[in-house]
């Protein structure tokens, strides 16, 4: 019997190594796998490259990971926010390297990794400084920039429900990067509100098929969730 569920977030992140590339789901705090990040902080891996849309909000989740000085580099689209103080400080201190990627290129490059593509000609960023030095090409009268896939050693994502085969469904806009990151990482770890019996998820509505997920951990419902 295949059972991808684990009892604790600590067990799920225990083999993440120093220097690993870790994708973290979420758009702001929606879909941010807080408990897994807390476990990662506790675990202690350092010199991480983090792929996320943002660079942390407030004091928890990715912001806490940065605060604890575990992050060497961040690949993201929108680091600077009103509550990104820990990133701001680390960046200004030269402790964290930043690779700024337009959000659509970020999604497309993660998607390309999951799909096994070698590179993609993307329309976004052409003629801007974020494409400086990159290969460009005119195709059918439009200009494109060549962008490479973003792969990861580990993806930490948050889903709504999961089963022991790793099938996942998400909740509202907390879905965001989760399904893409699950496809692009060697090991995808999902924290879910609830683990359900095999077969309880409608096969027509599974968003992330289990093949893309290696570990599932139930962290319980938040009060507000329907």
């Amino acid at each position: 019997m295949i059972d991808k569920t684990l009892a604790s977030c600590a067990a799920a992140v225990a083999d993440i190594r120093d220097g690993a590339t870790v994708m973290i789901g979420g758009f702001g705090t929606a879909g941010m796998p807080d408990q897994l990040i807390d476990a990662l902080i506790e675990h202690g891996a350092r010199e991480l490259t983090i792929v996320n849309n943002n660079a942390g909000n407030g004091e928890t989740g990715l912001a806490a990971l940065i605060k604890h000085k575990r992050v060497r580099k961040i690949v993201c689209s929108f680091p600077r926010q009103s509550d990104s103080q820990h990133f701001d400080a680390a960046y200004r201190a030269g402790e964290v390297e930043l690779e700024l990627v337009p959000q659509g290129n970020l999604a497309a490059r993660i998607h390309a990794a999951g799909n096994g593509l070698g590179a993609i000609f993307t329309p976004t960023g052409y003629g801007t400084e974020l494409a400086a030095g990159k290969e460009t090409r005119e195709i059918d009268g439009k200009h494109y920039v060549l962008e490479y896939p973003i792969h990861a050693d580990v993806a930490l994502i948050k889903a709504h429900r999961g089963d022991r085969w790793g099938n996942l469904v998400y909740r509202k806009t907390a879905r965001n990067f989760g399904p893409l990151m699950a496809m692009a990482a060697k090991c995808t770890i999902a924290q879910v509100h609830e683990i359900v019996e095999l077969g309880a998820l409608d096969p027509e509505t599974v968003v992330t098929p289990g093949i893309f997920v290696q570990r599932v951990i139930a962290v319980g419902h938040k009060e507000a969730l329907a």
């Binding site: 758009f27 702001g28 705090t29 929606a30 879909g31 689209s77 929108f78 680091p79 600077r80 926010q81 990133f87 701001d88 960046y91 200004r92 930043l98 700024l100 990627v101 337009p102 959000q103 659509g104 290129n105 999604a107 497309a108 993660i110 998607h111 993307t122 329309p123 976004t124 960023g125 052409y126 003629g127 801007t128 400084e129 974020l130 200009h143 998400y170 909740r171 509202k172 806009t173 907390a174 879905r175 965001n176 990067f177 989760g178 399904p179 893409l180 968003v207 938040k222 507000a224 969730l225």
Partner: protein
């Protein structure tokens, strides 16, 4: 000063809303463009997309009804209309980059008369850069509109011959809605579509330093 009255931000939002037809798929950028939603006619069905993964975005929820899993691209709580749906980021940006959105409304630091857009960075050396979905939105929609005050607080025109701020996209803005008038942009330069009352083309050319067709 001349005897003209600038449009308020609410009036600008109302003006943009008037040009959005029923059935349009629209992304409203963070900040001022978000206010356009307040003026869309209730009797027309217009589809608002938010790049974090929803189509058919409704108004802000009532106090106490906020759901942290249901937010817009500005990370504010929103609602979903009946008939709306959720999707992941790749599908969301497919909508934006694949030419499926009809209209995108963005703010700007500068727009060139040929439609170049600068709205993500002032190029200040000590600033932390952040781009989000701005570059994707700028080049992806069938029509990209900009909504902005025409002049900075110090009186410089934000509609310019060539952008001096870092670019968001090339030749991507087709129309500018400003507090002083509406402009169509293109290879021929800027054309005045309408002006606030009391403002002359001559005065507008003086304010922008541009030759404006009309």
């Amino acid at each position: 000063m001349s005897g003209y009255q600038r449009l308020t931000r609410e009036q600008m939002a109302e003006r943009v809303a008037r040009d959005i037809p029923e059935g349009a798929y629209v992304n409203l950028g963070i900040g001022l463009p978000t206010q356009v939603a307040n003026y869309l006619p209730a009797d027309k069905e217009i589809f608002l997309q938010s790049e974090n993964g929803l189509l058919g975005m409704g108004p802000a929820p009532a106090k106490g009804e906020e759901d942290p899993d249901l937010i817009n691209a500005g990370k504010q709580p929103v609602t979903l209309l009946t008939g709306g749906c959720y999707f992941h980021h790749a599908d969301s940006f497919a909508m934006m980059r694949g030419g499926h959105l009809d209209i995108c409304v963005l703010g700007a630091f500068q727009v060139s008369q040929h439609g170049d857009l600068a709205n993500w960075s002032t190029g200040a050396p000590d600033a932390i850069p952040a781009v989000g979905g701005a570059m994707d939105l700028a080049i992806g929609a069938k029509q990209t509109y900009v909504m902005m005050d025409l002049l900075t607080k110090t009186g410089e025109s934000k509609l310019v011959a060539d952008c001096t701020y870092p670019l968001t996209g090339l030749r991507c803005v087709s129309r500018v809605y400003s507090d002083l008038g509406v402009f169509d942009l293109g290879t021929e330069g800027a054309r005045v579509v309408e002006l606030v009352e009391g403002l002359s083309i001559d005065e507008l050319q003086r304010l922008t330093g541009l030759t404006l067709a009309h």
